[in-house]
C-alpha cells in the first residue's frame, strides 16, 4: 500500500494551451468518423433516429470532459449519467455511440497516449458490464409492471457501471467509505435513471425527446456546480495550510521542506498503520503546521536560545486549538498527546530531523530512533517506519 494522500494531491490540473488549429482538424476528422459510425449503427437497427444517437454521442463526449470532483477519490465524469440513461437503447447502437464518443474523446485529449487508451477501454468495459446487468435484470423482470421493470433494470445497470468503472480505476478503495460519501454517485445514478425514463418522453417519436435533455441537465449541472465549489474550497484549505507550513522555513526556523516531508511520511505511516481517513487528515495538517508555534516564541537570534521541540509543539497546539476545524490537529500536536497518530507525528518529525530528506540515511536513522530510550517512541510505529523505509517509498531527495 502506498501513501495515498499528498498535501498537494488536490492541485487542479492546469489546462495546457493547445494548438487550436491542429486540434480543430483532428476533431473535425474524428467527428466525421464518429458520425459515420453512428449512421452505420442506425442502419443496422433503424429504431432511434440518427439525430438522437448523435445527440447522445455528443452528450457523452462533453460529459467525459466535465467531471465531478470528489474529495479523496478520482473525479467522476458527468458522462456516466448519460451512459446510464443510454443503456435503454438497443445494444448495437449503444456500442456504436459509446465507441464513437470515447474514440473522439481519446483523440482530443492531451494526456499520454497510453493513459488515453486505458481510459477509453475502461469506460467501454464499464458500459458493457452495465449493459449486461441491465439486460439480465430486464430478462428476469419481464412480467413486472413496466415502470418497475425499467427502474430495476436501469438501476442495476447503473450501479454495475459505476462500480466496475471505479474498480478498474483502482486508487483508494472507495468501498470502505461510508455511504455519505456516495452522494456524487447517487446524483449521477439518479440523473441517469431520469434520462432513461425520459427516453421516448416529451416530443419524442422514436428516441429521446430533445425536451428531456435540458430537463436532465438541470439537476446534473447543479450537482456538478455544488461539488465543484466544495472541491475548490477543500483544495484551497489544504493549500493554505501547506503554504503556512512554509512560513517557519522561510523565516529560517526550520529546514527547507521539513514540514512537507514530515507530512508525506506521516501519510505513509498512517496508511501502513491503517489509521482512519479523518485521523489521517488531521495528522497531515498537524504535521504541516508542527513548527508553526516557533513563530510565536522568542526569536533564537535575539534570545540566544533555541526553544525545545516540546515548547514549539505546545505553542503550536495552543494556536491550533483556538480554531474550530483544526482543534483535533492541535490535540495531536500537544506534547502530552499519546494516541497512535501523535506517536506517528513524533516519529516522523524525529526521523526527518535525522535524515534531513536524504533517503540513504533512512535505515541508520531508524536504528538510531530504536536505540534511544525505550519509552520515547512507540515500537509499533517504529516497526511501520522500518517497513516504509525498507520499501524505499520515500522520495530520494538531497539534504
Amino acid at each position: 500500500m502506498t501513501a495515498t494522500v499528498r498535501p498537494d494531491a488536490g492541485r487542479p490540473e492546469r489546462r495546457r494551451v493547445r494548438n487550436g488549429a491542429r486540434v480543430g482538424v483532428r476533431v473535425g476528422a474524428v467527428g466525421m468518423c464518429g458520425a459515420a459510425v453512428v449512421a452505420a449503427a442506425t442502419w443496422v437497427v433503424p429504431q432511434p433516429t440518427v439525430a438522437t444517437l448523435a445527440l447522445l454521442a455528443t452528450a457523452i463526449l462533453v460529459g467525459e470532459t466535465l467531471v465531478i470532483r470528489v474529495p479523496e477519490r478520482p473525479p467522476l465524469p458527468l458522462a456516466t449519467a448519460v451512459l446510464i440513461g443510454a443503456l435503454r437503447i438497443p445494444g448495437m447502437q449503444l456500442a456504436g455511440v459509446v465507441a464513437a464518443a470515447l474514440v473522439v474523446h481519446a483523440l482530443c485529449d492531451d494526456t499520454p497516449a497510453r493513459d488515453r487508451a486505458t481510459r477509453a477501454a475502461r469506460r467501454a468495459a464499464a458500459t458493457a458490464a452495465g449493459w449486461v446487468a441491465f439486460a439480465a435484470v430486464q430478462g428476469v423482470a419481464g412480467t413486472w409492471p413496466d415502470d418497475l421493470a425499467v427502474l430495476a433494470a436501469l438501476g442495476a445497470g447503473g450501479i454495475v457501471l459505476i462500480a466496475v468503472d471505479e474498480r478498474l480505476r483502482g486508487g483508494p478503495s472507495a468501498w470502505r467509505l461510508g455511504h455519505r460519501d456516495r452522494a456524487a454517485e447517487l446524483a449521477l445514478l439518479s440523473s441517469g435513471l431520469f434520462l432513461g425514463f425520459g427516453y421516448r418522453g416529451v416530443g419524442a417519436d422514436n428516441g429521446i425527446g430533445a425536451w428531456v435533455l435540458p430537463l436532465f441537465l438541470v439537476p446534473l449541472l447543479s450537482a456538478w456546480y455544488a461539488f465543484d465549489r466544495l472541491a475548490t474550497i477543500r483544495i484551497t484549505y489544504r493549500q493554505t495550510i501547506a503554504a503556512l507550513s512554509a512560513v517557519p522555513e522561510l523565516a529560517g526556523l526550520a529546514r527547507p521542506g521539513h514540514a512537507q516531508r514530515v507530512a508525506e511520511l506521516c501519510g505513509a505511516l498512517a496508511a501502513e498503520l491503517d489509521l482512519p481517513q479523518d485521523r489521517i487528515q488531521y495528522l497531515e495538517a498537524a504535521a504541516l503546521l508542527h513548527h508553526l508555534g516557533h513563530l510565536c516564541l522568542p526569536d533564537p537570534r535575539e534570545s540566544g536560545r533555541a526553544p525545545l521541540p516540546a515548547e514549539v509543539a505546545a505553542k503550536g497546539a495552543e494556536i491550533l486549538r483556538q480554531t474550530e476545524p483544526l482543534r483535533p490537529a492541535g490535540d495531536l500536536l500537544a506534547p502530552d498527546a499519546d494516541d497512535v497518530a501523535a506517536q506517528v507525528l513524533r516519529v516522523a518529525s524525529a526521523f526527518d530531523e535525522l535524515t534531513t530528506g536524504d533517503a540513504s540515511l533512512g535505515p541508520v536513522a531508524v536504528e538510531a530512533l530504536r536505540s534511544g530510550p525505550g519509552y520515547l517512541y512507540d515500537p509499533l510505529v517504529l516497526d511501520a517506519l522500518d517497513r516504509v523505509v525498507r520499501r524505499g517509498e520515500l522520495r530520494r531527495r538531497g539534504a
Binding site: 492541485r11 415502470d147 427502474l151 452522494a183 456524487a184 447517487l186 446524483a187 449521477l188 439518479s190 440523473s191 435513471l193 431520469f194 425514463f197 425520459g198 418522453g201 416529451v202 416530443g203 425527446g209 430533445a210 425536451w211 428531456v212 435540458p214 430537463l215 438541470v218 439537476p219 446534473l220 447543479s222 450537482a223 456546480y225 455544488a226 465549489r229 466544495l230 475548490t232 474550497i233 477543500r234 483544495i235 484551497t236 484549505y237 493549500q239 493554505t240 501547506a242 503554504a243 503556512l244 512554509a246 512560513v247 522561510l250 523565516a251 529560517g252 508553526l292 513563530l295 510565536c296 526569536d299 537570534r301 535575539e302 494556536i319 491550533l320 483556538q322 480554531t323 474550530e324 476545524p325
Partner: protein
C-alpha cells in the same frame, strides 16, 4: 408604520379566498387524481421548506414556480383549475412556520400560491388549443402563464410587505423585479417536467428532485467549510500576529475593510471570497521578519529597511502557492498596488488596489510604535488627497462610502487595544511601510511635522 390589524385581515382574506375558490371549483368540476396531487403537493411543500439558494448575483432561486407550472400541465386534462390550486395550498406545510405557529405567514403563503397558481392555470386553459400539446405549443404557452403567475404573486407580496413594514424599499423592489426574470426558464422546465410526468409516469419526479437535493446538501457543506476555513485562518493569522503586538488584529481588519470595498464595488461572490482571503494573508510574510525590527520605534536604517522589505516577497511567494489566490498574489506588494492612471482599466485586477487602500486606512487609524492613531476624518482626507496618485480613486470613494453607510468610526478612542501608549504624535504617512522609509516622502500634514525620528 406597520398596520397589524390590516395585515391580519389581509392574510386571512387571501387564505379564505383560496379555500373558498377551491370548494366552489371542487363542487362544480371533477376532482384531481390523488397520486399526482400528493406527489406534486409533497414536492411543492418540500421546495417551500428548503431555503432559497442565492445565486452569485444575489437573485434567489426557488423551485416552487417550476413545480407549480408542472402541476398546471399535469392537471390540464383532469382537474385543470382545482389541481394547481390545491398544490399551491400545500405550501401550508412549512415546518419552520408551523413550529413557531406563525399562522399569518402560513395563511399568506398558502393563499398567495393557491391564487397565483389558479390564475396561471386559468390563463393556460384559456390559451391552450384543443388536443395534445406539442413542444412548440408548450413553449408558446409558458410565457403568458408564468407572467400571470409572477404578476399575481409579486403584487400580493408587495401588498403584504407594505402592510408589514409600513413602506416599500425601492431598491429591494427593483431587485425583486429583476430577479423575477429567472422564473421564465424555470417555468419552461416545469412545463417539460409536467409533460414528462404524463408521458413517463410518477417515477420521474423523485428522480428529478434527488440530484437537486444532493446538490443542495453539497452546497451547504461547501458554505459551512468555507465559513470555518475563513474563521480558522483568521484565528491562525491573529495568533501569529500576536508576536508582533503593534499590528494585532491588523490582518483581520484589513480583510474586513477590503470586503466592504469589494461589496461596494459590486464584485461577485467568488472574487469577494478571494479578496478577503488575500487581504487576510497580505502581511503573512511579516512573520519572517525579526521582532526587534518590527517593534523598533522610529525609523529604520536602509539595511534594516531592506530586510523588512523582504517580507513582501515572502508574502507573494506564499500567496502564489495557493491556486485560488495566485491571481491576486501581487496584492502583497506595494509596487503592484500603487495606482498608475491608465487609459484602459479593463483586465487590470483591482484587488491589489483594494488591499492597499484597506491596509493604509487601517495603518492610519491604529496606533503603532512610531505614531498615534489618526482621527478617521484625517485618514479620509489623506486617502482622498492621494487618490489618483498613490491610491485608486474609485477604491478610496468606495471605502469612505461603505464606512459611512455602516456608521463605523475608527481611529483614536475606537481602537480595541492600544499597546503603545507612549507612541509619538506624528505625520500622516499613509501606508504602513511608507512611515518606515529612511528617506521616505515627507509627511504631508504641516501641523504634525516629523516627530517620529
Amino acid at each position: 408604520m406597520a398596520r397589524p390589524a390590516l395585515l391580519t385581515a389581509y392574510c386571512l382574506t387571501l387564505a379564505i379566498a383560496a379555500a373558498a375558490t377551491a370548494v366552489v371549483v371542487a363542487w362544480r368540476g371533477p376532482a384531481p387524481q390523488p397520486v399526482p396531487l400528493l406527489i406534486l403537493g409533497a414536492l411543492f411543500a418540500m421546495a417551500g421548506n428548503l431555503d432559497r439558494v442565492t445565486s452569485s448575483r444575489g437573485f434567489s432561486v426557488s423551485a416552487s414556480p417550476m413545480l407549480g407550472m408542472a402541476a398546471v400541465v399535469v392537471f390540464h386534462d383532469t382537474a385543470p383549475l382545482l389541481g394547481p390550486l390545491l398544490v399551491g395550498l400545500f405550501d401550508v406545510l412549512d415546518v419552520t412556520h408551523l413550529r413557531r405557529f406563525e399562522w399569518r405567514k402560513l395563511a399568506f403563503n398558502a393563499g398567495n400560491f393557491g391564487l397565483s397558481l389558479l390564475a396561471a392555470a386559468a390563463t393556460f386553459e384559456v390559451l391552450a388549443p384543443a388536443g395534445p400539446l406539442g413542444p412548440t405549443e408548450m413553449a408558446a404557452l409558458a410565457l403568458p402563464t408564468v407572467v400571470v403567475f409572477s404578476v399575481i404573486n409579486l403584487s400580493l407580496v408587495i401588498v403584504v410587505t407594505w402592510l408589514a413594514d409600513g413602506g416599500i424599499d425601492h431598491r429591494e423592489l427593483r431587485r425583486d423585479l429583476l430577479g423575477e426574470a429567472h422564473v421564465f426558464p424555470f417555468a419552461l422546465l416545469g412545463f417539460c417536467l409536467g409533460r414528462l410526468y404524463l408521458d413517463a409516469g410518477p417515477v420521474v419526479a423523485p428522480l428529478f428532485i434527488a440530484p437537486i437535493l444532493i446538490a443542495r446538501q453539497t452546497f451547504n457543506a461547501y458554505v459551512a467549510i468555507q465559513d470555518s476555513h475563513e474563521a480558522a485562518l483568521r484565528i491562525l493569522i491573529g495568533a501569529l500576529e500576536a508576536k508582533d503586538r503593534y499590528t494585532a488584529g491588523h490582518a483581520e481588519r484589513v480583510a474586513r475593510y477590503a470586503g466592504y470595498i469589494g461589496e461596494e464595488l459590486g464584485l461577485g461572490v467568488r472574487r469577494l471570497e478571494r479578496l478577503r482571503l488575500a487581504a487576510l494573508m497580505h502581511d503573512v510574510g511579516k512573520l519572517v521578519v525579526p521582532n526587534h525590527l518590527l517593534n523598533k520605534p522610529g525609523k529604520l536604517t536602509p539595511d534594516e529597511f531592506a530586510e523588512v522589505r523582504r517580507h513582501e516577497d515572502v508574502s507573494v511567494e506564499i500567496l502564489r502557492r495557493i491556486d485560488f489566490l495566485a491571481p491576486v498574489a501581487p496584492s502583497a506588494t506595494s509596487e503592484a498596488s500603487r495606482f498608475e492612471p491608465v487609459a484602459d482599466e479593463r483586465g487590470q485586477p483591482i484587488e491589489p488596489h483594494i488591499v492597499a487602500v484597506a491596509d493604509a486606512y487601517d495603518a492610519m487609524t491604529s496606533t503603532r510604535s512610531y505614531r498615534r492613531a489618526l482621527p478617521q476624518q484625517e485618514a479620509f482626507r489623506e486617502l482622498r488627497r492621494n487618490a489618483g496618485r498613490q491610491f485608486h480613486p474609485r477604491v478610496v470613494d468606495a471605502l469612505i462610502a461603505a464606512l459611512r453607510r455602516r456608521g463605523e468610526v475608527h481611529g483614536p478612542g475606537y481602537e480595541e487595544h492600544v499597546y503603545h501608549q507612549d507612541a509619538p504624535v506624528t505625520g500622516t504617512g499613509s501606508a504602513g511601510l511608507g512611515d518606515l522609509l529612511p528617506d521616505g516622502p515627507a509627511p504631508a500634514a504641516p501641523a504634525a511635522g516629523t516627530a517620529g525620528a
